[in-house]
Subunit: 394 residues, 4 copies
């Protein structure tokens, strides 16, 4: 691309896009096939089958040709009918954001909101569903990435299912990095993507749609069809002899296929475990170094993202710029309400390796120290992270 | 992906997805950067600037994160307001298809339609605009790929502009393969993509939006915002300090950048010339071999796609399957009304090389001969294609 | 690499280096591992085992870290002791060339030579071995690429084995493209490489060494050790716990591994068949177009290389330059005695696909026609090649 | 490659092979061209010119087609004639090893040897040259990697030149990572390779040969020709119209070209500085953590490799295996006399980034601690490394 002012960083430890696994990058370089070539049709069907395999679902999944915000907008547009009351559960910026889409399509939007460093409880949801029996659909952001906190989605899902409501789960930055499956959290639409914990580039959405959700969509006259926002257009696209609604993103499908191969080969339990261990080591290091987590408690802190609270008076943008310049490490900022208040360290896919926590702790602690924050102990932080790693080996 | 029943073909000579240039495939394998990493921001800005350079436009282009059907649907959704009368010009399946989107958003859809092996004329458009002065927006598919025919978009555009109407041009499979620029055809919204003549995988839309179109969109209360269908969300995304509405498709941006480098290095005139020569050689071969073009005349046949009329009684699906099995060559089928009636040979990006016409002619003529069609002369066809190539060297 | 005067050709239809299979190219891009990393040791052992699998040999093969000329020089240096009489069988430039190495190490070099468009016979070898019972070692170039002719190596090998002599076979451009295995041709040292019919880049030699050859090498005080020319240094390098004599070419090993996966998946019989069919179609086309083969008879023409005799008065260098400029096709020249007299069309690895013969015939016939040669019928040539392909499908 | 027992490590921090830069890996995936294709000839010439550019030499360099042990063996075989007395300077295993080659070709081998944790001095060399005026050639290993120590090659070179002797410098693991140029150290043959500090895979040797050396080679009747060991065969291979002695390693040339582009773009001073800073931070961390360097003093410790002395009683093989299993980090072992006594941390090419020193220090200190070594302070070590990095930013 000619002259560049910025060279690539050494470590991209963000919350997405994350760097892709090497074999995923190579898969992107496969020759581009015609989408109706039998070799590509076979590929698409195989990849789709692997998505179902990692989803463990009773209905075939849906692959949409755009990064997961497409999946989320499409879920709202398809499932929420003009007479629906929607309960949107909010524990962070992304959960809040979904409310805007829900409000666009619903008759009424009800929100249950907690501070953005806390998470929701199943009891509160149950209470609200009792209070408002007219609620038809509940939506929740599983892991609200801008806060780095994880809602108890399985418990909440059970409450929603028991109440006979439909549930939309945004598990974009959770699936693949922690123990969650579409049907064990009772999701009717479950949205995730390859570009977080699966270690792919952004460009696709992966959806589980329950039988009940398909019925609801079919009954919704406003559900998009012949549109990029349509879920139903793609319902049977993986079947032999079914056309694609439009051209699928061939190279992204290759990448997804390679990522699923890695996931299946390593085993989901092992993948989840290394995400958890990386985050645990990172949190230990952060706390011991004298920094604070954004999450109100460690129990609700995400295994795929550690949000570090930034002390008052520190310019978070400059902090990250300094960390990049000094150590070659890139972290994510907060978003909207959390912007400037926290810095996020990703543990997703290829970076969900415990050793990265040493770099993360050193870099953020070093960056804050350099910014003049007192009482930081970089060495103690790294040692604490090491101790978590070492202990896991014993 | 484990066991495969179909190996990759040898030659993908389709009308899209087309195989990508080798350097584009390698660009896809670049490390995935965080979208807000300064190195990626710089990359995005540079790539955007190259799009503008190849567009030669007075306003900055817009990159949307989905293959060009997204660009087309977004153009309809954004520009067409509920009180607009839209004239949709139809000379093929894709032109017809746009009418469905236009009708979704417009007060009234007027169509001017010609048989799908002919093209529209500027005079007919002028007449219609006189007849229906309430028309606000005109839409046209420049190269209707399922027919392999090219509308005189610059002449029609001049008529539309003179009449003070706004023009939407679908130049998806034309731009980059023939002489057309957004502003020389007076497009207010011009939609193309990297996955045809630029030799990239599918996954992005490239749009030119005129000042007048921006004003119209701003005045349209129904124009999508906070949506994958929004054009305006991405209006300033390339500017330093402007956020991305959502995560751009990082790897596809890399691919586009590499493709634009090739395009700029070779020079647009040279690129267009080799598309034209490849198609010319192909048509000469097809006709001399005893086959027929779908297009009513060679003058309107596309330089990026040669549609070959398939004789009655031939099963076109089986024909292409036999050609693939026998020669390893993949062609495109027709679509909708043209399905089964023609086979399409792509001359796009890396396959727009005259020598490919030899393979194309041999393969389709050989396939038809094997299917029992009489009067085919494969050798004469290949010789005629050769003669065109040889003549161009003289 | 900055500005380039020459862009890449469209088709590289040479006799080596040949273009690599796409998956081989991607394998080259795998992260470079430390050679003693257990993951690389496992890789090396696995790749070595696959070489043995395709060799079907009773002794483990040897991988040398340089393109096959290294393997050939090393074979001469290791096997030929200072008191040995060597019979070098010569039917072309490469066979002749081996004699220079043989003479360097042997007491005496005896040669049996035929014109460079003919091949040797087992009878002639048997006669010579009777005449000169002091001969200890026989060497032969299986497929003398600069002539495109194939010696009956299995028959000759049987004669050599029956006479109790050791045999060195240069099968560099034959193995993987025709039915030949190290032990079915009774080779004591069999040299090939991944960069011809296996579709890899140049950089490695693959050797079979018989038990008898190992004994001979061990008894040869001049056999290189602690040298790049040593075969014995690498004898056990594939074994767990055995060191590498020096750093193996990590990326080339990855490439070889990917190529062997393709070979094993397709099946050797299928691979050989497509080489044979491609060459057969090419020869039919060449002859029907009015050109002549270099080989004295079709029976001895190679399935991996078709050498076309160039008419007197034609500048072969200019011919190939014109073919490249005009059609984007690159062929190989002759070498030494055959330089200027013939042009070689490779059918190796990824280009050993029958459809390529259409391009080959068209390009060389077209090039000669453009050079003013009379009586060439391009169309008839292509049709004849097509007929061979079509017939194979029936 | 099917089932694997070992997955790739996370960090390959070895002393070669080292991981390659991402753009180098992608360059390896470029289509393989015919070596006599004009596009490849142009490429080879351009790459050769870049080697000369980074060498800053008055004579054109030579590229040999094998990893640097080939270059070293070829240097010995070419330059050392049967009547030469060679002084081999030995401060480590690789220097000692060169003596075996020198002895093979020389009349007499004289060695000046120091303990393998020390380096030679120019004075000692001057003394020896006075004592033995019959010495014709001096050889030295610049950076003896198995010791991680750097000889003062420029000072020694000046002494050798002043005495009118020829000098062979093995700068394999030094060039590109520290301030050294072939002519500033007065080398007559200077051997390096792309697979250390340039960040390429192993497979090529890069040589500077002075005019005096070329004359000596020309006068040496035993200098190899028509051999993989020949330097003179390749003397003019980069020139237009000159043939290649045998097929160059096409893909490795692509990789080298990409690596040289990076080197030239970053600037040699900047490249050297980051190697130096990485090593400095690493040494500070190692020492502060309570570990010891192998080098007798920091002054002689290499900027491209930090050799850490391993305490008695520790099984170095098990230590590295544990570090790999626990932290995913791969280091290099010692070699021969240093095997088992030290562990080597590479700072070469892409890993010569200061932040890697944090991982290196943490991993080796953590590994030794886990092995039961007392008195190790991981946190203090990492802090000390950080302090060096931070200080460099101030």
């Amino acid at each position: 691309m000619g002259h560049r002012n910025f060279s690539d960083p050494i470590f991209t430890l963000t919350t997405g896009p994350v760097d892709a696994y090497p074999s995923v990058l190579r898969a992107l370089a496969r020759p581009v096939l015609y989408d109706y070539d039998p070799a590509f049709l076979e590929q698409y069907e195989a990849t789709h089958a692997k998505v179902r395999q990692v989803f463990h679902t009773s209905t075939p999944p849906v692959i949409l040709q755009g990064e997961p915000v497409l999946g989320l907008e499409a879920a709202a547009a398809s499932l929420i009918a003009r007479n629906d009351v929607v309960l949107n559960l909010v524990s962070g910026v992304y959960g809040k954001g979904f409310g805007f889409w829900a409000a666009r399509y619903a008759k009424e939007l009800v929100e249950l909101e907690v501070p953005y460093n806390e998470v929701l409880t199943a009891d509160a949801v149950a209470d609200m569903l009792k209070k408002r029996p007219d609620i038809a659909i509940v939506s929740i952001c599983h892991h609200d990435t801008p806060s780095g906190t994880v809602n108890p989605v399985a418990e909440i899902g059970a409450v929603v299912r028991a109440a006979g409501k439909l549930l939309i789960v945004d598990s974009v930055s959770a699936f693949g990095g922690m123990e969650v499956l579409p049907e064990t959290c009772f999701a009717d639409i479950f949205v995730t993507g390859p570009n977080k914990c699966l270690g792919c580039p952004p460009g696709l959405s992966l959806l589980h749609v329950s039988e009940a959700a398909w019925e609801k969509i079919a009954a919704n006259p406003d559900a998009p069809t012949a549109s990029i926002l349509s879920i139903s257009d793609w319902k049977r696209a993986h079947e032999a002899n079914q056309p694609f609604p439009f051209t699928p993103s061939v190279s992204e499908i290759y990448a997804l296929d390679a990522a699923l191969d890695l996931y299946l080969e390593e085993g989901e339990q092992a993948v989840w475990a290394r995400h958890a261990l990386t985050a645990k080591a990172c949190r230990a290091g952060i706390l011991t170094a004298g920094l604070k987590l954004w999450a109100a408690s460690e129990e609700i802190a995400s295994p795929t993202c550690t949000a570090v609270a930034i002390p008052d008076g520190i310019d978070e943008v400059k902090l990250r710029a300094a960390i990049r310049a000094r150590y070659g490490v890139v972290f994510s900022s907060g978003r909207a309400e959390t912007l400037g208040k926290l810095t996020r360290i990703g543990h997703m896919g290829p970076t969900a390796r415990p050793t990265y926590s040493l770099i993360s702790v050193a870099a953020i602690a070093g960056g804050l120290q350099a910014a003049g924050v007192k009482g930081i102990d970089v060495g103690a932080g790294v040692e604490a992270a090491m101790a978590v790693i070492d202990e896991a080996q014993a």
